[in-house]
Every structure is written in structure tokens, then in C-alpha cells.
């Protein structure tokens, strides 16, 4: 509760100053005006519609990029020779910033969901690959021997031993990737794509609606916070008992 004192005081001060001096600006707005604009957008549905667009593309990109990253992580983790062969290529392609492939994605897909999803997927692929691969490599060799002695085939080894053993760290990888997904989605929308929250922010700024722009900004913060809180909750829920009972190295 004490943490709220400072921000509330600052908002209050901003409101008082805005009332005293009477703002008529294209770049800032009074807190009350921001609140009104935000509620209006929430009620008429534009804000929720934009949120659904942004979260939808972020999640789709996370699923595609993270899924691909996970599959690659397991392959490279299980076959060190393959990992050696791929290392140079991976390190090179990985250093390309996700937003730098916007032009390429636009050429291939044009404006719209597919372009944005492909860029988000590119951004999500790498953290899951890197952390997932190290999680697979880090599995106790004894567990691998148990699988070998029982003569599990490759698929059974992955499903019964590798995945469950690496799952807690894989989930952490997905949490990191999810954060990147939201950032990249909004960035792509601000840069080019006429969709979602990022586009809403740009539109408000360009049509000289600072109240709406700040309302959007605050909303993006709330959505990001909620997204991360949900993932943290899931992680605790899923791996809390396992972490308690597990003696993972």
C-alpha cells in the first residue's frame, strides 16, 4: 500500500497543476482527461478490440516461434554433433534484431496478422531454443541411462524423460519469450502494421489526442503486467509442488 503513495501524489499534483494553469496541449493531458478517454475507449470496445488483436498475434507468434524453438532445442540438446554443426548459423541469425526483419516480412506477407505473427515468432524462437537446449543438455546423465537400459525409443525418451525433466526451465524460457512477444507485437504495430494497441497509440498521437495516447500507454502497461502475472501464477501452480517434491539438480 505504501508503494502507491508516491504515484498517487504525483497524479494528484499533475491534476491540480493542470486545473490551475488550464492545459490546452497536443502533447500532454490532465490525468482526469486521460481517465475519461480510457474509459470511453474501454466502453465503446475499441480498446478491447485492439487488445485482442495484439494479444492474439503475440500468443500466435509465441506458440509458433516457441514451439519451433522447443523442437529445435530438443534436437540440438540430444544430438551434440548437430548442435556443433548449427552453432555458427544460429549465432549469426540470432543476432539479427527481430524488428529488423519487418521489411522482409512485409515483402513476403504484406500488412496484417501474418506479417506480425512471423516477426513475433522469430523473436520467440531464440530464447526458447537457447534456454531449452541448455535445459536438455543439463538433464542428469543417469536419467538418460535409465532410458537406455529400459530401451526406450527416441520418441519415448523425449516424452517420458527429456521433456518432463527439462519442463521447469522450458517454462521459464516461454515466460521470457512471452515478454518479448508483447514488446515485438506492439513495436511492429507502431512501426508499420495498422493493427492493435501499437497502432492505436500511433493513431492517437497523430490525430492529436494526447489523452487517448496516454490512456493507451497505461493500458498497454496493465496488459503487460497482467500477462506476466498470469504466466508467473501458472508457473507456480504447475511447478510449485514439483519443485517441492523434486530433487532437480
Amino acid at each position: 500500500m505504501r508503494g502507491l503513495i508516491l504515484p498517487l501524489a504525483l497524479v494528484l499534483a499533475a491534476e491540480v497543476l493542470a486545473r490551475i494553469f488550464g492545459i490546452d496541449s497536443d502533447s500532454i493531458a490532465a490525468p482526469s482527461a486521460i481517465l475519461v478517454a480510457g474509459f470511453a475507449a474501454l466502453i465503446d470496445g475499441t480498446m478491447l478490440h485492439a487488445t485482442a488483436q495484439t494479444l492474439g498475434t503475440a500468443l500466435a507468434g509465441l506458440a509458433i516461434g516457441g514451439g519451433g524453438g522447443l523442437a529445435a532445442a530438443i534436437l540440438l540438446g540430444l544430438f551434440p554433433r548437430l548442435a556443433q554443426l548449427m552453432r555458427f548459423s544460429i549465432e549469426t541469425v540470432r543476432s539479427i534484431p527481430a524488428v529488423a526483419i519487418i521489411p522482409v516480412a512485409m515483402l513476403v506477407f504484406g500488412f496484417g496478422y501474418r506479417m506480425e505473427i512471423s516477426i513475433v515468432a522469430f523473436a520467440c524462437f531464440w530464447p526458447v531454443l537457447i534456454i531449452g537446449q541448455s535445459a536438455v543438455i543439463g538433464i542428469d546423465p543417469r536419467l538418460d541411462e535409465v532410458g537406455r537400459v529400459l530401451r526406450l525409443n527416441l520418441w519415448a525418451r523425449v516424452a517420458k524423460i527429456v521433456l518432463p525433466a527439462a519442463l521447469p526451465r522450458i517454462f521459464v524460457a516461454f515466460r521470457l519469450a512471452a515478454g518479448a512477444a508483447l514488446i515485438v507485437a506492439v513495436t511492429v504495430e507502431i512501426a508499420t502494421n495498422p493493427l492493435g494497441l501499437g497502432y492505436g497509440l500511433m493513431l492517437a498521437q497523430q490525430t492529436l489526442h494526447p489523452d487517448m495516447m496516454f490512456a493507451m500507454l497505461i493500458w498497454v502497461g496493465i496488459v503487460g503486467w497482467g500477462f506476466n502475472a498470469l504466466l508467473l501464477f501458472l508457473q507456480k501452480r504447475l511447478f510449485g509442488p514439483a519443485a517441492l517434491a523434486g530433487n532437480a539438480p
Binding site: 542428469d140 543417469r142 536419467l143 541411462e145 535409465v146 537406455r148 537400459v149 529400459l150 530401451r151 526406450l152 519415448a156 517420458k160 524423460i161 518432463p164 525433466a165 519442463l167 514439483a242 517434491a245 523434486g246 530433487n247 532437480a248
Partner: protein
């Protein structure tokens, strides 16, 4: 038309369960290191064979070769007349570090079921086998717990139950009680002796504890270090079932102990 049985003549019940002919194992590197040299022995059907030796003598390596987890460097290693080239369902291995060999995310029952899943046992048949194996090692009441919630001795019993569920013809045990306290160790020694009697499974048991080897074994193979090789093989003629007090105080027990003690070089 009558079908002629197409069973290969080399793989029959009459061939020894495991046979080693001057088996060697070395690690190649900047300086090649000979771990095992000229090991020749035969594991007999149904016997309880103990391999004893100082730490670092290569006895664990020998067990891993038999399990098929390591490839031999020289000689010939076969099971039922067929060369051992990799692990087999027929040879189960109990590792010393039980906590690392169990799946922490599976319950006690789930860990035993793993062996059945690996064998392709039908889902409907699994529960009954899991129950009988868990009852065999007195863990049935703990079936819904997780390994980390069990004591060390119980975890090791669970690993043994999983190996039994594999229905192996040969059970390899790598210093299985080395990490347990003395009391628990004695209880488990008697349990393993009982299981060997009840199931008739052939057991190769590796230990550095001379008394444990004599107490459990029908035969004790003593190993020398650097490079690891067989020093001697002694038949143990003590009545079964054995008893923690009576057997260990038996005159013959002490005589075996003397003989082997003098054979094993002790490096302090």
C-alpha cells in the same frame, strides 16, 4: 507342411547368461589408460555373484560393460551366445545413486510403471504388476508418494522394484547400498537375498564391502586394481537363508573373510 523351428542355434538356454573372454577396457586419450585387463569369467544361471574390490579397481566399469552401457575395447563379451552390443531389457541395472535414477515427477507407482511402458505391457495389465512389484519390496502403501518423500532405503527399494518389473533374467547391482546407513543396509541385504530366492533371478552384485559380498554371494570374485583384473574367485558355502548374526559369526564366514582380506591389497 511342417515348419522348422527357426531359433538360432547359438542363442539357447544352455549358453551362459553372461560370458567374458579376456575382456579389456581402456580409455584412449593423450595417455591411454587401461581400466580393465584380461577379464575372463562366466555368470551361471540363478547364482548370486558378488564382485568385490577397492574403489577405482574398475568393478563398476565391468558392470557397465555387462549392462551394455559401455563398449568393450578387446576380448569377447556375450550373453546367451550373442555379443553384447548395447543395453537389453533382459539385463536390469540398479544404480548406486538411487535419487538420480528415479523420475522425481512420477509417483512411486509411476516409476515402476515406466519399466512396463518400456516393455509395451498393455495398459490394463500394468496396475496388477505394479502392485505385486511394490508389495514385493514393501512399498505398496507408499504408491502415491513421490521419490523425494521417501527415505534413502525406500528409494533404493523403489529402484529395485522398477528393475524387477522389467522382468530381467539378470539383475546387475552397482554398490546399491553404499550410500545407506548400516542398519538400513542390513535390512536391504536380507531383502535382496529373499528376492533372489523368490524370483530365481541371476544377480551380479558389485560392492567394496568384503563382508557384504560374502554374506550375500554364492560366489565372490575379488578384483585387483590398476589395471583392474580378477584376483580370485571363491565359492561361498554357507547355508541359506543367511542370518545377520549367525552367518556373520560362522567359522566359515570368518575363514572366507581372512582369505579374501589378504588377497585384496589395501591402499590407505
Amino acid at each position: 507342411m511342417k515348419l522348422v523351428a527357426a531359433i538360432p542355434a547359438t542363442s539357447t538356454e544352455t549358453e551362459p547368461i553372461v560370458a567374458l573372454q579376456s575382456v579389456g577396457y581402456r580409455v584412449d586419450g593423450t595417455a591411454a589408460l587401461v581400466i580393465l585387463q584380461d577379464i575372463s569369467m562366466t555368470v551361471r544361471q540363478g547364482e548370486f555373484l558378488c564382485i568385490v574390490g577397492a574403489s577405482g579397481c574398475g568393478k563398476t566399469t565391468l558392470l557397465r560393460l555387462i549392462a551394455g552401457l559401455l563398449p568393450i575395447s578387446s576380448g569377447k563379451l556375450s550373453s546367451r551366445g550373442l555379443d553384447i552390443t548395447g543395453p537389453s531389457q533382459a539385463r536390469a541395472i540398479v544404480f548406486q545413486d538411487y535419487s538420480r535414477a528415479l523420475l522425481p515427477w512420477r509417483t512411486v507407482a509411476g516409476n515402476v510403471a515406466l519399466a512396463l511402458e518400456a516393455r509395451g505391457t498393455k495398459r490394463s495389465a500394468r496396475a496388477a504388476i505394479v502392485e505385486s512389484r511394490l508389495r514385493q519390496v514393501n512399498l505398496w502403501e507408499w504408491r502415491d508418494r513421490y521419490p523425494a518423500q521417501l527415505s534413502g532405503g525406500m528409494q533404493q527399494r523403489l529402484q529395485i522394484a522398477r528393475c524387477l518389473a522389467q522382468e530381467p533374467e539378470l539383475l546387475l547391482m552397482d554398490e546399491p547400498f553404499g550410500a545407506l546407513d548400516a542398519m538400513t543396509r542390513q535390512v536391504l541385504q536380507d531383502e535382496v537375498a529373499r528376492l533372489s530366492r523368490e524370483t530365481g533371478t541371476t544377480i551380479v552384485f558389485v560392492t567394496h564391502d568384503l563382508e557384504e559380498a560374502i554374506y550375500l554371494g554364492d560366489r565372490v570374485v575379488a578384483m585387483e586394481s590398476r589395471p583392474g583384473r580378477i584376483a580370485t574367485s571363491i565359492e561361498i558355502d554357507l547355508p541359506r537363508p543367511r542370518h545377520q548374526l549367525a552367518t556373520r559369526e560362522d567359522r566359515r564366514f570368518l575363514a572366507y573373510r581372512h582369505r579374501l582380506f589378504n588377497l585384496l591389497p589395501v591402499h590407505a
